[in-house]
Structure formats: structure tokens, C-alpha cells
Symmetry: C2
Subunit: 401 residues, 2 copies
């Protein structure tokens, strides 16, 4: 979109120039160039890395990619260009004319007038090899170079689209985005358990569909890369989406200001989006809701959902279960005293004064849910190992870069 708009603007601005040969070339992204429906000799400049080189007797074909799309742009050059410098992995700037491609493989190709090698690539030492499909385990050793491959480039583009879709979903649903602190003086509540969730207002599906419609080929690539032949996998994962629950006190505190959501990395867990809604009385009030958690494993902070479908449980007040804030209506005096005494017995009165305060100054029932962003990406992309959907994964004994 951007590239095409940018190109049109640039072309418009120089349309009064007398000779096409002397028009300044408009700088466009590969995505922008590929998006031109009927190329007609537009003079453009494209920058990117060489993904493939095919040298024929009188003509040289390059594929140039700049990370703006999965597809590369085909560059056609005559034999006067020195093909030795134009090697896989090198960065180039190509100036020329965008024309309709005679091949069925692409709509558009770039007839090169000038090719400048910006940075050479030492192909022998470069861990990414020409036309090789490296296993993800292998690429994990090179966190600083793996984004140059198709599959990791796709993951980055899909992450970006997914982030934008999550922001849009909550914004459109009237939630205020908040930034929660990375350091906290509070203990975090128990997290890391797996639940099967039903998406009440379609956070998961809405955002997944946005991503799928924005980068279908990227998703397809990731999916194929991992599990060739398993076409049902994505659909299956979309049906049985496993998410991680996690809460922070920040979203709870700020729910006083407005219903809100956050999207912040958490210690010991992956990136999360969390939301909190006040005055929740029914399961249906919460956009994302936990269901079908095995009764035998039901954690202390969950309770039966009396209004919704049978055998379902919901995450309620985590710190002091049984106070009955969620679904329970107001917090009356006797309940507040029960809470006060309980915290006193635990020696937590001072540390949790904020928690008590929230309950005596216009308390409201509230509820929310956290979604593990990286797990969500695994679902969409069908990628088995979480390390492959995180640009710079941190795990035991590993903090590369």
C-alpha cells in the first residue's frame, strides 16, 4: 500500500518533465513496485538484497527483496552488467523502468538501467546459503542474520500485522491502552497455566483473520515451512487455541480510570496482551473467557460460571478467592473486613494497602484475561517452537544479543 501510494505521489510530482529518461526515479519498496497493476515504463529506484541470480548469455535475472513483502522483484539486466559483483546476499540499488513482465510468474519486472552494489556479501562465510532451506534450529544460532531468510522475515511481518490488529481490536472495543511497568514491587500472581479458551468477542479470531487477510502468503510460507502437507493444522489450531493466563495489578488498578488493555513483555513469560474491564457481571461481559478447563485441575482462583454454558470456569479475583467480586455485585462492609483480616493474618496489610484501598473507595466487580502473544502467533503460523516467533528469544543459559 505504502509503496504504491508513494510511487504514485512521486510519479505525479514529476509528470510534467519533458523527457522520461531525465525524470528523477521514484524510490519505491519492492511491495510497492509489485503492487502496480499495469506497469508502463515508470522510472523507479529499488533497494534491497539479492535473493537469486540467474545469468544467461545475453541477459541477467536478479531477484531483489527489501523485506517489505515475501515476494521479490525480478530485475532484468543486459549482459553489460558485471555479474560477479551481483552475488547472493549483496545489497544493491537498482534504477530502471518498471514494465509488464512477459512471464506468468509475475506482473511486473524492473528493466535495469543502473545497478549499484551497496554492500558486498562474503557468500562463503554467510550462514544463509543460496537456495537452501535451512532448518529453524540451524537458523536459531544466528539471531542477527536469520531475519534475512524468507521464513523469519515473514514472522516479523506477521508479528507486526498482529500487533496492529490487537491494538485496533481493543481500540475499537473502547479499551484504553496502558503501559504497565516492567519492574514491580509486587509479587506476580500465579501464571503460566494452559487453558482452552472460547473467544467471546472474537479477539483471537478477529485479529487472526486480519492478519490472514493482510499477509496470506507470509502465513502460508511459515505454515508450509514447518509442516508440509498438513493443511488442516492451521484450522485445527484456530479451533483449539491454547492461551496463557496472566494478570498484572496495573490493569486492575487502572480499570478505575477506564476499561483498559496492555501489551507488554512479562518476566518469565512471553509477550502478553491483557485487558481488564470493570463492572463485569456476566461471562459475556468479558471479551475473552476461559472454558472447558478440566474440573480436576481447576485452580483456586477460578470458579464455576453460573450464567454461561455448563462445566465452564472463569478467572475471578486472584488474590483473595471467595470474596465474590466477580459476578457477585457490590463489596459490602462485612466482606471488606473479611479481606482486611485475611491480609492481616498473612502479614500483607502494608504491602497490599493499595489492594484494600481499591476495595473501599468505590469498588467494582471486574474481570479480564491475558493472551500470550507468541503463543497466538504460533497458532496462526503453525510454528512449533516459540523461539522461532520471537526476534531475540531469551531462554535458559541463552541471551544472545
Amino acid at each position: 500500500m505504502f509503496g504504491a501510494r508513494c510511487l504514485l505521489r512521486a510519479l505525479r510530482s514529476c509528470s510534467s518533465a519533458p523527457c522520461p529518461r531525465h525524470r528523477p526515479a521514484a524510490r519505491v519498496s519492492v511491495r510497492g513496485a509489485l503492487g502496480i497493476q499495469s506497469a508502463n515504463g515508470e522510472r523507479v529506484k529499488v533497494q534491497g538484497w539479492i535473493r537469486s541470480v540467474r545469468s544467461q548469455k545475453e541477459v541477467l535475472f536478479l531477484h531483489v527483496n527489501d523485506g517489505s513483502s515475501l515476494e521479490s522483484l525480478q530485475v532484468v539486466a543486459d549482459s553489460s552488467f558485471d555479474s560477479r559483483e551481483l552475488a547472493f546476499g549483496s545489497s544493491v540499488e537498482v534504477q530502471g523502468q518498471l514494465v509488464k513482465s512477459p512471464s506468468k510468474k509475475q506482473n511486473v519486472e524492473l528493466k535495469a538501467e543502473k545497478i549499484e552494489v551497496v554492500g558486498n556479501c562474503d557468500a562463503k562465510a554467510f550462514p544463509v546459503k543460496y537456495k537452501e532451506r535451512h532448518p529453524l534450529e540451524y537458523l536459531r544460532q544466528y539471531p542477527h542474520l536469520r531475519c534475512r531468510t524468507n521464513v523469519l522475515g515473514s514472522v516479523l511481518r506477521v508479528r507486526s500485522e498482529a500487533t496492529a490488529a490487537i491494538h485496533s481490536f481493543f481500540k475499537d472495543s473502547g479499551f484504553v491502552h496502558i503501559h504497565t511497568p516492567v519492574i514491580t514491587s509486587n509479587d506476580c500472581e500465579g501464571a503460566g497455566e494452559l487453558f482452552q479458551v472460547e473467544v467471546m468477542e472474537n479477539l483471537f479470531k478477529t485479529t487472526a483473520m486480519t492478519v490472514l487477510s493482510n499477509c496470506p502468503k507470509d502465513v502460508e510460507l511459515c505454515h508450509k515451512f514447518i509442516a508440509p502437507g498438513q493443511k488442516d493444522r492451521l484450522e485445527h489450531m484456530l479451533k483449539n487455541n491454547f492461551l496463557v493466563i496472566s494478570y498484572t495489578e496495573a490493569v486492575e488498578i487502572l480499570k478505575q480510570a477506564s476499561q483498559n488493555f496492555t501489551f507488554t513483555p512479562e518476566w518469565g513469560a512471553d509477550l502478553h496482551t491483557e485487558h481488564e474491564k470493570y463492572l463485569v457481571k456476566h461471562c459475556g461481559d468479558i471479551p475473552v473467557f476461559v472454558i472447558n478447563y478440566p474440573l480436576a485441575l481447576k485452580p483456586f482462583y477460578m470458579r464455576d460460571n453460573e450464567d454461561g454454558p455448563q462445566h465452564t470456569v472463569a478467572a475471578v479475583d486472584l488474590l483473595v478467592p471467595g470474596v465474590g467480586e466477580l459476578f457477585g455485585g457490590s463489596l459490602r462492609e462485612e466482606r471488606y473486613h473479611f479481606l482486611e483480616q485475611r491480609l492481616a493474618r498473612l502479614g500483607l496489610t502494608e504491602a497490599y494497602q493499595w489492594y484494600l484501598d481499591l476495595r473501599r473507595f468505590g469498588s467494582v466487580p471486574h474481570g479480564g484475561f491475558g493472551m500470550g502473544f507468541e503463543r497466538y502467533l504460533q497458532c496462526i503460523l503453525g510454528i512449533d517452537n516459540i523461539k522461532d516467533v520471537i526476534p531475540f528469544p531469551r531462554f535458559t543459559h541463552s541471551c544472545l544479543l
Copy 2:
């Protein structure tokens, strides 16, 4: 927007009910209710906190706010309601009919049929006092309650709008959003210096204007709260915006995949947005660019801008200045060796292998800039102390919540 849409949907779904009295009340936000242009007895349910109570002989006026907007909704109840329970700070659920208000102060008011107190507020102990304009210093002692005030509520809404505007700006400009790690094994480069910047493609102004057009009254409130009478202040700050420079290696590495930006908290600094663009050759290629930094104080990693206006400097390659990657074109063999030797002398070869690798496998000139998000908010809102634009600020000897 959300509230109004939600209301319309809800109203549409029950429009076939025979008796208006028995229609289920649609739950709407205060913002949604206030957005109704010509209220005509729509039955709605509003939840929020009581901001003011005015009891007259036969009628009771409440102002209810739920954090969705700066303005509160006026609720009109007859004297049959018990005004003792309806106190400042309590949370309530009000059901009734939205009607045109006879007063000029608001378009709409809610004629209450039912008011339920959800949570009482211990007004004596509540640090936020009725109709009092507390100084921000005072409110800072209560990070868990201050979002209940108008000014901090506004800050949260504006933060949220600003975040969304920054995301949109970069997305529309073709940048891929990346999540950078919070823990890193690399030393961060020198940061924390102040620059006067010129906004080349209007990151600052575009997003500021989006915020201003989305929440003008919120911005107005914050601005007035701090500096009553100083109307030129905002404009002045918009002209002389001071931003903090900061770089991370992550954006530099991932610029190989695409031009990108991040929006992540950083240690020892406030929340930043950073972007990195590859194949930068001219200042004009960078959306945000540093100018007018005093020559005498010019840090080692900045250099004169030869193409742009005089006496301007730009941030270039931070680790090894003088290699001339920015504006310099390709990194030739002799330059790579110079870099290699320099790192070897510093004993950094192993730690910075990634840095060397980026420069031998298709290196590209690149540039970018970081903007301190909280400083940006200070500019828009005219708020003097950075602690008042951060929901849970962390500073020396203070890590409340």
C-alpha cells in the same frame, strides 16, 4: 465512537419490542451516551463513579464518569432515591432514559429509573476530595488512586491515543513493528542527551495533531491544570520539541528484514519509540532528524549534515564513528578491516561478532532516531514533571506498585 455504535446496535436489536418500558436497557459508556445527537428516551444502562452530587428539594443531580471521556454524564433522579448512599466516589449502575437536557451545559442527560450502588466509598479516608483540585505532587503519593481524577484520567486517554497514532504513523509509512528484548547481553550505547529536532516526515506533528483532534478537551484540561493562563505554552513546546536519542542494536539488526520501528520501555530511560531505516543516504531519508545541536557539545557519534541546512548534525553509526556508513555508501573491504582491527584492539571481537557480520554480509547504510514517548506527552500536555505522565513511575528509591 464505540459507545454510540454499541448503543445503536443494541437499540436496533430490540426495536421490535412492543412496549418501550420493557425493552432491555442497552449498556453504554458515558462517552457513548454523550455522543447521541438527539436523545429521545432511549433506555440505557450506564456504569461509573459518582463525581458530584447536588441534592435539591424534589430532584437529585449526579455526575457519573466511567473513564471513557473527560465529561461526565448528568443523571437526574427524583427525591425518592436515597441520596445518602449516592456519595462522591461510589460506583453506581444507573438505568434510565436518555433525554435531551434542558440545560445548555450538556446535550443529553439520563433520567434515572433505577440506581444501584455497586461499591461504597469511604469519603473521609479517600485521598481524592470532592471538588478539590489536588496538586500533582500530592496525587503522586497515591499511584493506585490518582487515575480517578480528571487530570490523570486524561493523561491515560491521551497516552492511549498517542500510542495508537504512533503505531499508525509508522505502519502507514511502511515500517514493520518489532518487539525488542527487555534484557540484553550488549552494552547499550550512550543515551540520554537532549536534542532539538526537526521532524522531517512529521512523526511528532502528525501524531500530536491526531491526539489533539481526538481528545482536545483532555489535552486542554491537562494544559490548564499545570499552567493556567499560559495559552501559548503548548504551541511553543510543539515548535521546540526536545527529544531523547537512544538506539538499540535490535532495530539495527532487524533493519535487514525491513525498515522497522519499536515501542518498548528501556532501562534507565522512559518509554521510547525507535525506528531504523536502511539504505539511508540523505537526511531526508530519515523521518525524524536531529538539527541545531550546539557544535561545541557535538557528541562523537554525530556528524555534519552535508546535504541539509547548515550547522546541522546527524546521528550516524554509533559504535565506530568515522567508518562513514551513513551518507557514505558501501562499506568496502578496507573499511571492514579497519573496523575489525579497531574492535580487536578494544577486545570486543567476540562480543561484537554480530556487528561485524552485519557489515560483511550485504551491509547497508542506515539511520534512525528514537523519541522519548513520555517527553513527547509532556510536550503535548504541557506537564512539567515526567512522573505525572507515567502511570506507575519508577525513580530513585521509589518503586510504588
